[in-house]
Amino acid sequence: MSIQIDQVNKFYGQFQALHDVSLTIPEGQITALLGPSGSGKTTLLRIIAGLENAEQGRILFGGEDISQLHVRDRNVGFVFQHYALFRHLTVAQNIAFGLESLPKKQRPPKPEIRATVARLLEMIQLPHLANRYPAQLSGGQKQRVALARALATKPRILLLDEPFGALDARVRKDLRRWLRNLHDEFHFTSVFVTHDQEEALELSDQVVVMSHGRVEQVNAPTELYARPESRFVFDFLGQVNEFSGQLRDGRLVQGDAWVRLPESPAGSEAQLYLRPHEVRLTSEPSEQAHFPFCIEAVSLIGSEVRVELKAQGWQSEDVWEVGISHAEFNRRQPRRGDRCYAVPDIGHLFAEGQDQPRTISWGDSA
């Protein structure tokens, strides 16, 4: 079932938590609501579920306006961040809860409920834990039980509020994988909330970036990563190196540092955003760019070596980060305190007053 959100506004007293949110969530896909804390993700998800009422706007499920329907009657599956499992019921009883709550006429007979629960337990790979209580489960197991519980009544829509927020990194990864497989199998429409960009990009078919109660951008993950439409999205999607300077003679200049721009934009100031893997390190300045740095730290973990750089002779709000390969590292052996230069391959330029970046590539000329 597709979900349509139509000009929703939500107020908490004086505070407006959602501004005129309109959005279409396509059927059968996983959509991520991504944004910093307080951006209104949870609020939006709860409004979709019917746990909260919007002051204005409509919610449509499969084209039908269900704004006035009680949660109880919307038949959505909702998974809470902290699972909200019923502590005094066993795993099996938790899963059966929804079925047993059905009105008498619709309620399946006992044996059928038992069978459904067994099937769901099979699905979440925990049939041996049917009689445990939630407190006796690990975080990951709890989360899976919560999912099974939400799925028991066969909802066409599954809503998840930071489903992995409370889990540690490894379990998180496993569960993410598992959830995707599950989704591939059953093809319900899923919406999940997260503030972890990696999670959003990895797990979803469509990402909705939110900020201050507004939708900033809606796109498929690769698109979003490749073409952020605003500074906010850019910033939010991961580590980025920023260089802001004056436009002068086809160059962007600040202090000792400058970079040549293929074509000069309008205005007198601009910011250049560079992703860590779009920058190379050299021991000499190049023709096209002059970013003098002092190496502040080198970190060898993982598949690439991360080098942190401190601007020399110019100002940078943050330390720059550049990722180089282990091979490169072995060749050049950069060390703390070494002086070096950064050379960009690809950059994203925000001209003065503009919120849309222009992507610049030096790659060929290097």
């Binding site: 019917g50 746990l51 109880r72 038949n75 909702f78 902290h82 019923f86 809860f97 209580y133």
Partner: protein
Amino acid sequence: MATPRPFLVKRNKRVLPGFTLSLGISLLFVSMVLLLPLSGLVVEASGMSWQQFWFVISDPRVVASYKVTALAALAASLFNALFGLLLAWVLVRYEFPGKRLVDAMVDLPFALPTAVAGITLATLFAETGWYGQWLSKLGLEVAFTPVGIVVAMAFTSIPFVVRTVQPVLEELSPEDEEAAMSLGASDGRIFRKVIFPALWPALVTGAALSFTRSLGEFGAVIFIAGNMPYVSEVTSLMIYVRLQEFDYAAASAIASVVLLTSLVLLFAINLWQARFLRRLEGR
């Protein structure tokens, strides 16, 4: 205390200060104020032979008082469980004018001397009293009947239930309810299956506290009980009577029965609850 203490054995070195002092005060106090007098009870009761002891505590009139006391305490704690839960629920869940007053008034029975409470209740419920005159028109007698005992017990112990249930109700996560709602459960079902089970241990504890308190209640009950032998005499009165008769041993014996009942009950509840909580907390 700022100097190193080389003379102390390594194992005994405590990081936080004041262990000896605080434990010393506690032990001194507990043994002087609590245990020493309690030993008096044991000593006094142990002066009797087992037969004597049994004879005293199984005296028909005393046994009748056990029944009256236990039944009245049971009725009072059931009443309190029901209405204490209601009060706690209303105080936690709703906003309404006078809420703060209700909240404050709940503690009144703790703060009001029991004798004053007894006199007041007797005055209210007597046939000439503010309540009694209406109740008697309905053919209900409260003062000087076992019902009066229940009223006095309920009055003195209602805060136990409210104050044990209230925090649990406050802590109850709204998400549980919402989860149940999103699963399609009706309000009634959510209350029965999700909220009530969570409150249950606290409610039982509160009712048990209320029950034990009622077992020992004297001041408030005595004024309104009517003290009819075999009908409305409570056990505290029987202890008091033995005291009047200078029969300390017998008084101690009966007192020890009540005390033991209370302790066993509280202990059992604690055990039960520990097991219950272990399940919920997965320890």
